[in-house]
């Protein structure tokens, strides 16, 4: 998917740098987009008095105590661990369940197949917001309030539609000749799934996995309803709790905030081509 976008990039007619105004505008744009991010990161290297005196200034001198205090606090690491457990489990759950269902939708023909596809596709229109109140009651009835599975299970369910919509075309694109050849070699359909379809759809699995991971890492509403003690908080809840607890210590809040955004940013920069390509590829089907 990403390849398709890149491969069709317009060929250069003339070598050279093109219009300088374009670069100026691009630079301005990047400054606007990254300014707030830099504000958070750099603010963590300042003291509160620096921030009060000159809210938009640079660290002078650089202070590292905010970051070291957050990094040595038990709360931060516990919440980072919670976020990691939730995000990894959610991602695995979404990808495993999603690829199994997508394989059925892509390569089996049976009555009710269209209905099944429509069921998942309809799920795209219902973000978790509209179901959050009854979902909380369901999780409560299951006895999972204030536990990580109480967040993980609904997240898997709500992540399935996007995953399935992205993966079905992937699995359909595997040429039928390969499946026929496999059948001649006495490969069952399940064997084909395991040995051929899965390896061939790895790019799609990675795209959906990254989207699921970042979505889970950033999610706020569901954990807000389900988790209510600091021991089970994920980082977004932790950031809010920290911000209200240390509301006078702006510099420390900024340090905590910027540390909690690092994993998503690292993940994104490692896989940015797949994320961007996956989103646009999904759009084109």
């Amino acid at each position: 998917m990403a390849r398709g976008t890149l491969a069709r990039r317009r060929p250069r007619k003339k070598s050279g740098w093109g219009n300088p105004i374009v670069y100026l505008a691009a630079l301005l744009l990047i400054g606007l987009m990254l300014g707030p991010v830099l504000y958070i990161i750099l603010g963590g290297f300042r003291t509160n008095s620096q921030i009060t005196v000159d809210p938009a200034g640079l660290p002078n001198p650089w202070v590292f105590s905010n970051y070291t205090e957050v990094m040595t606090s038990e709360t931060f690491w516990r919440q980072a661990t919670n976020s990691t457990i939730v995000a990894v489990t959610t991602t695995v759950g979404i990808v495993v369940l999603g690829v199994m269902a997508s394989y059925v939708l892509a390569r089996y023909r049976f009555r009710g197949r269209g209905a099944m596809y429509a069921l998942f596709a309809a799920g795209l229109m219902f973000p978790i917001t509209v179901a959050i109140t009854p979902l909380y009651i369901l999780v409560k009835d299951l006895g999972l309030v204030d536990t990580l599975p109480g967040v993980i299970l609904p997240q898997i369910a709500f992540g399935l539609p996007t995953t399935i919509i992205i993966l079905v075309p992937f699995l359909q694109a595997i040429p039928k000749e390969i499946e026929e050849a496999a059948a001649i070699d006495r490969c069952s359909r399940l064997g084909f799934f395991w040995r051929m379809a899965l390896p061939l759809s790895v790019p799609g699995l990675i795209t959906t996995g990254i989207l699921a991971f970042i979505g889970s890492w950033n999610s706020y509403l569901l954990p807000l309803f389900i988790l209510n003690s600091e021991d089970t908080f994920t980082l977004p809840l932790g950031v809010r709790a920290f911000a209200s607890q240390y509301s006078v210590d702006t510099a420390k809040v900024l340090a905590f905030t910027s540390l909690s955004m690092i994993p998503a940013l690292v993940f994104f920069s490692l896989f940015q081509r797949r994320i961007v390509g996956g989103l646009t590829g999904a759009l084109k089907g």
């Binding site: 069709r8 317009r10 093109g18 374009v22 744009l29 987009m33 707030p36 991010v37 000159d54 809210p55 938009a56 369940l97 999603g98 199994m100 269902a101 059925v104 892509a106 390569r107 089996y108 023909r109 049976f110 197949r113 269209g114 099944m116 596809y117 596709a121 799920g123 795209l124 229109m125 219902f126 509209v130 179901a131 109140t133 009854p134 909380y136 009651i137 369901l138 409560k140 299970l153 898997i156 369910a157 399935l160 399935i164 919509i165 075309p169 039928k176 399940l190 970042i214 950033n218 807000l224 950031v239 809010r240 809040v253 905030t257 998503a264 940013l265 994104f268 081509r273 646009t280 759009l283």
Partner: protein, 312 residues
């Protein structure tokens, strides 16, 4: 919403072994999806008819009273109005800017991939983090006013978050910052899929750059724009995280930025009125569904079949 045709027709009918495979492979996903997505939505409709504090079985059946209360509550109507404004303003502000930026970046630019990645960064950052950062920056003594003062525009310094005349516009600015990268990426991808031959042919016929963009690029970008608009509308209707993080549960109403979702959380969960909260969820759900269906029927209809289902 039609399923794509299966890639391969089966020669024989479907046997028990295949049924077993289908069940084993798709069963877990269906159970999870029905259990945690469909079932709660249906239960919301049921709970919405009760006055209920969330403990035990709801018994106090109040018929449509919750819905009457919602539709007469000025707080909800204000939230609905804010949602409507956010939907329209998001389209009107983000759409033209994103198309402009995509046109700009679609030219011969060195380092285009780096630029694409960098403008996408705000989209990847958690709403909570963006909200925390912006709420500090937009305070009366925050960084934004600091920058304004340092460049001699101190008279423009305002209380961006608490002033009811400005708060919604501050929110729009934050939303634009957070989500414009997504729109630009989509539009760029759409533009790069337009065959080069078309603009070359136009150039041969003597068309200027702007004529080419207006007569060729924009019309061919139509499907991408329409799907982006759909995603933007649905997102704006569900808006919660940023508002709740920046304005909290009490200030959003007075600052004029409350949304249906923040109303639902404040009046439902925070107040302990779960029956009422579920009724608000149903209203939010129905409004979103109607808008989605109308949009699909009248706007997306001309695009390829299944475009809606693939747009995410």
């Amino acid at each position: 919403m039609q399923a794509p045709p299966p890639s391969r027709a089966r020669r024989r009918g479907i046997g028990w072994a295949q049924r077993l495979e289908i069940t084993a492979l798709s069963g877990p996903a269906i159970v999870m999806f029905v259990g945690f997505v469909i079932f709660p939505v249906l239960m919301a409709a049921y709970y919405g008819f009760y006055r209920w504090k969330g403990f035990g079985v709801p018994t106090n059946f109040v018929n449509f009273d919750n819905y009457k209360t919602i539709l007469q509550d000025s707080d909800f109507l204000e939230a609905l109005w804010h949602n409507g404004l956010i939907v329209v303003l998001s389209l009107v502000i983000q759409g033209p800017i994103a198309i402009g930026l995509a046109l700009l970046l679609n030219q011969r630019v060195r380092g285009q991939s780096v630029i694409r990645v960098l403008i996408f960064v705000p989209f990847v950052i958690a709403e909570v983090i963006a909200g925390t950062g912006w709420s500090l920056m937009l305070q009366a003594n925050g960084a934004v006013n600091g920058v304004l003062r340092s460049i001699g525009l101190g008279f423009l310094a305002e209380d961006w978050l608490a002033n009811p005349k400005l708060a919604l516009w501050s929110l729009m600015a934050i939303l634009t910052w957070k989500y414009i990268g997504f729109a630009v990426i989509l539009f760029l991808a759409g533009m790069q899929n337009i065959p080069e031959e078309l603009s070359e042919a136009a150039a041969v016929d003597g068309a200027s750059y702007w004529q080419t963009q207006r007569r060729i690029t924009l019309p061919l970008l139509g499907p991408t724009i329409r799907i982006w608009a759909f995603l933007s509308i649905i997102g704006a209707l569900q808006l919660f995280d940023l508002v709740y993080v920046i304005w909290g549960q009490y200030v959003a109403g007075t600052a004029g930025t409350s949304t249906m979702a923040t109303y639902m959380v404040v009046e439902g969960r925070n107040a302990g009125n779960y029956g009422y909260g579920n009724a608000v969820a149903v209203v939010l759900f129905v409004i979103s569904l109607i808008i989605a269906l109308v949009y699909q029927r009248f706007v997306l209809r001309r695009d390829t079949e299944g475009a809606l289902t693939e747009g995410r």
